[in-house]
């Protein structure tokens, strides 16, 4: 199978280049991650992140034929040759397909992605009704692979100020949680021309999410709550 892979080692290369590979795959190489591991057996200088190899950890998010996705859940059979692999766009490159996700996680942390509840914890768990729990569907499943945020032009232009779809999805995940008591502070934190309102609902995030989540809908619900609070 033919690949064109982005290569860059800041210690040795002056600038990035694309390297062509033609590597025979084994019948067991069903997913793109299997194929990448196969390529690495031929050229062990190729660097990429991977861990769980089943779409749960979010480590192997890369740009596959122009679209962000997880290598481990992308079928080799569905890909057009040569398969062009690049690192996630918009983030600093550490080496080859590995990007520096510091900015992405800084934005994630900025929305306080944890339960805020001042009441003393009960002896058992904080209970939710099935309806309240249902509000969290499509929110809690996010694995923070950064496919969405790095496909968002608003995040490319302002990664230091715009929270990005992944962070905003998690912001809404805690706003929607019946056990959380900080809704007002969370809305205050996001009411900003950059942090929330750089989103213009172009839905690139929805298009690429490997878990089929919908950050645009969550962002819309945050805006709805802000309108409800204001009018």
């Amino acid at each position: 199978m033919r690949f064109t892979i982005y290569r860059y080692d800041p210690d040795r290369d002056e600038k990035p280049y694309m390297q062509d590979y033609d590597v025979p795959l084994e019948p067991t190489d069903k997913m793109l991650l299997d194929a990448l591991v196969r390529v690495k057996t031929h050229d062990d200088t190729l660097a990429f992140r991977r861990s769980c190899r089943e779409g749960v950890c979010g480590s192997d998010a890369i740009n596959i034929n122009g679209k962000n996705g997880l290598a481990c859940v992308t079928k080799v059979a569905d890909l057009k040759e040569p398969v062009v692999l690049r690192p996630l766009p918009g983030l600093p490159i550490i080496r080859d397909l590995i990007v520096d996700m510091t900015q992405f996680f800084a934005q994630y942390h900025s929305v306080k992605p944890y339960l805020i509840n001042d009441e003393p914890p009960p002896e058992t768990e904080r209970l939710q009704s099935p309806e309240d729990r249902a509000e969290l569907e499509g929110l809690y499943e996010c694995i923070l692979c950064a496919c969405c945020s790095t496909s968002c032009p608003s995040f490319w232009w302002n990664p230091d100020k715009f929270v990005g779809p992944a962070g905003l999805l998690q912001a809404y995940r805690f706003i929607a949680d019946s056990r959380d008591q900080a809704t007002s502070e969370r809305l205050d934190n996001l009411e900003d021309p950059y942090r929330l309102f750089r989103c213009h609902s172009i839905m690139n995030c929805v298009d690429v999410c490997p878990k089929s989540l919908n950050p645009t809908r969550a962002i819309g619900k945050i805006k709805d709550l802000m309108v409800k609070r204001m009018v």
Binding site: P153, K161, D192, P193, F197, R198, K223, M230
Partner: protein
Amino acid sequence: MVKRIVVGAHYGLRDWLAQRVTAVIMAVYLFFFAIALVTQPALDYASWKALFASQWMRLATLLFLLALNYHAWIGVRDIFMDYIQPTGIRLTAQIVVILALLACSIWSAQILWSA
């Protein structure tokens, strides 16, 4: 000045809402304007002038143009926020756009009530 990333201007919702409201105003106006055009007996200068002779038509058109200019301001500022990073140049560009849109608004009012 210290090099610090500052956010938290605590506005944005009003503009986002205004962009939607002005979009609805424009859509409604254009719908009725299209009907008015189609139902004209003839599309000549006389019928065009008659169409804009009523105060209602003038007011609705002015409202449409104000909505258009406000909508344009929000959109253009969004573009500046993405692509013009130095604060001084961005502020200058924003002021130029505000003045231009204001001038357009006043001018359009003058045109509407001139005939």
